[in-house]
Every structure is written in structure tokens, then in C-alpha cells.
Amino acid sequence: MRSEPAIAAAGPASSDEETVAALRVGDERTFRDLFARSYPAMKRVARTYVASDAVAEEIVQETWIAILTGIDRFEGRSTLGTWIFGVLVNQAKYRSAGEKRALPFSSVAPSEPDDPAVDPDRFQKDDDAWPGHWATPPRPWQKPERRLLSLEVRERLRAAMTELPDRQRLVVGLRDIDGHSAEEVCDLLGVSPENQRVLLHRGRSRLRAVLEEYVDAADV
């Protein structure tokens, strides 16, 4: 689907080593490039810990100060991206200590209920002619495809994103809005590929349902 820029490597020619070496001698262009590419994901992760955009931005700022101050200590045992996000999460936890928000990424079992992707009533039951097949099938969106570009749809999607459980919102945001790869997201969040997929699946399923409701209502 989307092409995914790596979070930390400055481009196809730059490895973590090259990026870190450049930062150590104060190379501003490398820093600006890295800052810009990392910003959406860093802001997104920080935002899950705190109640406001402004505080999330402060957390990102503080993280970069800590990174640049301590850059000599980076040993390359993890990727640069992992290290940056480790510092970010520590900053976020510190700042959010008073806010009582917990983000149990380390927990083994998903904490959300096991919602089906589609309302089971949309499918035929065991005593119907074709159990498990559509009873109320989805209608094609081709004609209203242009509607999906509209401002209203974007606002609906943004609103629906805020209503997702935290972990689903984070994974969908990092993958589908910010364009990171599955591997990067697993690395950043410390979740297994399977967990990441489950969260992505549940989040996307809910959002598809939101868009379906919108398109169906618009067609009436």
C-alpha cells in the first residue's frame, strides 16, 4: 500500500552509524531531516500518554534534547529508532505520571474486547440457507469514491480514530496514517507481529464500518 520511510535512517545512503556520527558533530541538516521524518510517529506515541497535543509536543522536544545531549552514549546495540522511542516513552511516562493513563503495551493479552470485524447479524445464521454468508452484503463504494476525498469524510475518520481503543488507534495511526512498516511498528511498540496485526485488524474494521455508515447515509 504506502511506501514506508524508515524512521531513523536519513535516506537510502545513510545507516544509523552515519546518522549518529553526523549528529555527534552537530550536523544540522541531518538533525532537521531526522526530526521531520520522526515527528509524526513520536507525536503520536507521546499523545497516547497525555491528554493534550501541547504536552505531547513538549515531550517530543524534551526527548530530542535528551537524545542530543546523550548521543555519545548510543552504542548501536539497538537501532537508532528503537533507542529514540525508548527515550520518548520514558519522557512520556515521566510527564504523564500525574495523569493516571496506563498504556499496557507490555501486557501479553490484548485488553480490548474480542469484537467481530462485522456485526454478526449481517451474516446468515446456522438455520438459514447459506450459514456464514452475507445476509446484508456490503454495497460497492465506486460511485461515491470521490466522496471519500471530501473534508467531511476526513473529519469523520479523525473522530472515529479518537474513539478507537488506545492500542488500536496507535497501530492504525503508525501504519496507515504515518506509513510505517509492520516491522517498524512492532519494534517501536515492543509487540509481536501477531498482536500488531490483531490491533490493526480491529482498528481498520471499525473504521471501515464508520465509512460504510457514512456512505450509506449519503446515498439515501
Binding site: R2, L68, P138, P140, L157, D176, P193, H201
Partner: protein, 96 residues
């Protein structure tokens, strides 16, 4: 053949099913697009799509949803804060 089972996990599905239902397909669609289905299950999913226009529609809706999310992308990142630039500049050999 027996009634379709409401399997949810991919591994369950790959052991028991000769064909999958629409209700099963909608649970597999993300793994399908991620390329994460076991070969047996992938075959079943593709066979299902050949026969079921509605599930093709559903899969296309999922793709449209993802594409719409992509368009929400953040746009331009802000400038780095002066506080961070200051730390960076202290490292530069000529102090600039």
C-alpha cells in the same frame, strides 16, 4: 461437508476448513493484505473471492479505508525547537 465453523484464528482455520464463509473471510482480510496467511488459508481465501462478489466489495472497502487514512497524513512537520538546536550546535567543531 458439514456446516461452516466460526473459526477466528488462522491456525484453526487452516486445520479444519475445506472452504471459508464470508463471515470468516472478513476476519482474515487484514492478514490477507499483510501477506500473513498460511498457504492453505490463502488458497481458500482466494477461492472464496473468485466466487463471492460481496467479499470482493468488502476487501475493496478495506483498501479504500486504508487509502483514506493515508490522506489524513500529518503534512509538514514543525521546525525543530531552538532548545534542541542549541544542544546540537554546541557539538559542532566550529561552534556555528
Amino acid at each position: 461437508m458439514g456446516p461452516p465453523r466460526t473459526a477466528h484464528s488462522d491456525s484453526e482455520l487452516s486445520v479444519t476448513a475445506d472452504e471459508i464463509t464470508c463471515q470468516q473471510f472478513v476476519e482474515l482480510v487484514t492478514e490477507y493484505f499483510e501477506g500473513a496467511l498460511e498457504p492453505h488459508t490463502l488458497t481458500r481465501a482466494e477461492e472464496h473471492l473468485v466466487m463471492c462478489d460481496w467479499c470482493v466489495t468488502y476487501a475493496e472497502q478495506m483498501q479504500s479505508t486504508v487509502a483514506s487514512l493515508g490522506r489524513l497524513g500529518a503534512g509538514r512537520s514543525p521546525e525543530p525547537p531552538e532548545s534542541a538546536l542549541a544542544v546540537l550546535r554546541e557539538r559542532s567543531p566550529d561552534g556555528a
